[in-house]
Symmetry: C2
């Protein structure tokens, strides 16, 4: 279910009532504990490590704070690659060693149960959006302006972020992650032409740096990517993870057969009564008969989803057999 | 250029330095003056009346305030249709008579110059999103939850809004608007299936109520609509206005030949140097050789666009001749 731990679980809220979000990310014992919660409570097939996409920006010298209901804020914004703290190779992984430690703890628990652990990181464009805007944005004026007026500097920023993200993903794989996900929350604001020209290369670079070291599956999620599917299929990712706006059969048609597809129930459907959840989940499963399909939500599970509804979703998938 | 008047014009900023945004909307002399600015300064082919999509919610009893850099806030939120102030037929138009007055003043000035005036309103779903969330939202949790858990009540809300929007559009046409635009900023968050099931009917109702009274062209803009084009072509709108994420030739292919297409340069391209603006504008124009095409931006012009760049866009279009 993408970000699997979360406020919809009373067990998670109990821990969060004692520590703030970032402390939870940075404390391996607690991060490991909340990572395991959905595995035990819902019986999902894999664990997604509890962390945040913005930790890479912290390693690069941008302090992050989370205000309740307002999303993340950065202590400063950047407009050139040299605004990041210069770090030698290996220092990103070192500064984020607590993520590796969380993964090692979860792996130790789940390896005997044959349940894989997934690592993840934000994609260069999405991290650049936070670094340049300083917060979540509605119009992304600052990053769009930088991309249009200083395309070379913009590329240097994405390039630096690609290296940092790759280093973080490699460290997670070496700590035991059996697959990694790259989350591009915001690249869908671009036309396909601009995505291809300005952004695709930074995703390709990230993926190819990881693949040069390890051969675990790499999952690429781009939100709002209906117009980008074909381009995404050329990034080198093994799996395209799509949101609810692209019908699965259309994703398969536009992506070709060389990538697996993951997704894509609208997480707000988990607000419906269980009978409707079952029906919509089955209709989702019916859309994709090929092998190379991973049933999932189309975005992270929403905060106030009833646990029994999340369970109806998981149980429907686990009971499903293609004829 | 969709919302044509705005902060990119020094002449607009001069007026806005004296009155706040809502006062400007509600004062016909001033609204008419800023409506005329882009016509005189840039030479656009039509004037778009200066107003705001949220005035219809004000007429329905929800007070709106604009905080600088934070977007609109509503004084209260609704979760059922009866939370709107009950109004008899005609009272919406009466309460928004200042918009009609602005249109009459602009029409008087532009009729002798053969320049049409465009009226507009927000679409029912987008207005419902503001009424239910109380502000701009990132995740639209409240409206998605209402749609999933109380679909009949959700439909009643859209239904009431469709009537109110139609009444407002009809009043604008009767005041002299030569065409009207319906703006659906947020319907693109829905899958096509959910759009068809829950939202399309409210747009169809709005359009058909207007068409029963008048035969002016109706333009429908839905942001982020790449996955919805075919459905939008069945709403009864005469023109589909699309954002920069749908290539024009793809919009034409998916919409069929029974609607005109309007759009769709990414407004952030107006941050580029004029030579690039000319190139990208020409490439846009080359994509659509059919009649039934209106050159435009793919969303409202951005606040800090240099005026000479907006002029480069308009001049390139006006100089263009299809061979």
């Amino acid at each position: 279910m993408m970000r699997q731990a979360g406020r919809y679980l009373p067990e998670y809220r109990a821990i969060r009532s004692k520590v703030d979000f970032l402390t939870l990310c940075r404390t391996p014992e607690l991060a490991a504990e909340v990572t395991l919660q959905p595995v035990d409570i819902l019986g999902v097939d894999a664990a997604v490590i509890f962390s945040d996409i913005l930790v890479v920006l912290e390693a690069l010298g941008l302090e992050v704070t989370f205000e309740e209901h307002a999303g993340p804020r950065l202590s400063r914004t950047i407009n050139q690659a040299s605004d990041f703290v210069p770090l030698a190779h290996g220092q990103i992984a070192e500064s984020l060693s607590y993520v590796g430690e969380s993964i090692r703890m979860v792996t130790k628990e789940l390896n005997p149960r044959n349940i894989p652990v997934l690592g993840f990181a934000g994609a260069p464009f999405t991290l650049a959006a936070y670094a340049i805007e300083g917060k979540t944005s509605r119009e992304f004026l600052a990053i769009r302006k930088l991309m249009r007026t200083q395309p070379s500097e913009f590329t240097r920023i994405l390039d630096r972020l690609a290296e940092a993200v790759a280093e973080h993903l490699i460290a997670q794989i070496e700590a035991g992650a059996g697959a990694v996900q790259i989350f591009d929350t915001w690249a869908g604001i671009l036309s396909r032409r601009d995505f291809d020209q300005y952004v695709a290369g930074s995703i390709q670079k990230t993926i190819s740096m990881v693949q040069q070291k390890h051969s675990v599956p790499i999952i690429l999620y781009v939100k709002n990517s209906h117009h980008l599917i074909e381009s995404l299929s050329y990034t080198g990712a093994d799996v395209l993870s799509i949101d609810w706006r692209t019908p699965l059969q259309e994703a398969r048609r536009n992506a070709g057969m060389h990538v697996a597809i993951q997704g894509n129930l609208d997480p707000s459907i988990l607000y419906c009564p269980p009978s409707i959840i079952q029906d919509r989940t089955r209709k989702m499963l019916l859309q994709h008969k090929n092998p190379g399909y991973i049933a999932n939500l189309g975005h992270g599970i929403l905060p106030d989803t009833p646990v029994e509804n999340a369970r109806a979703f998981i149980d429907t998938i686990k009971a499903w057999r293609y004829e």
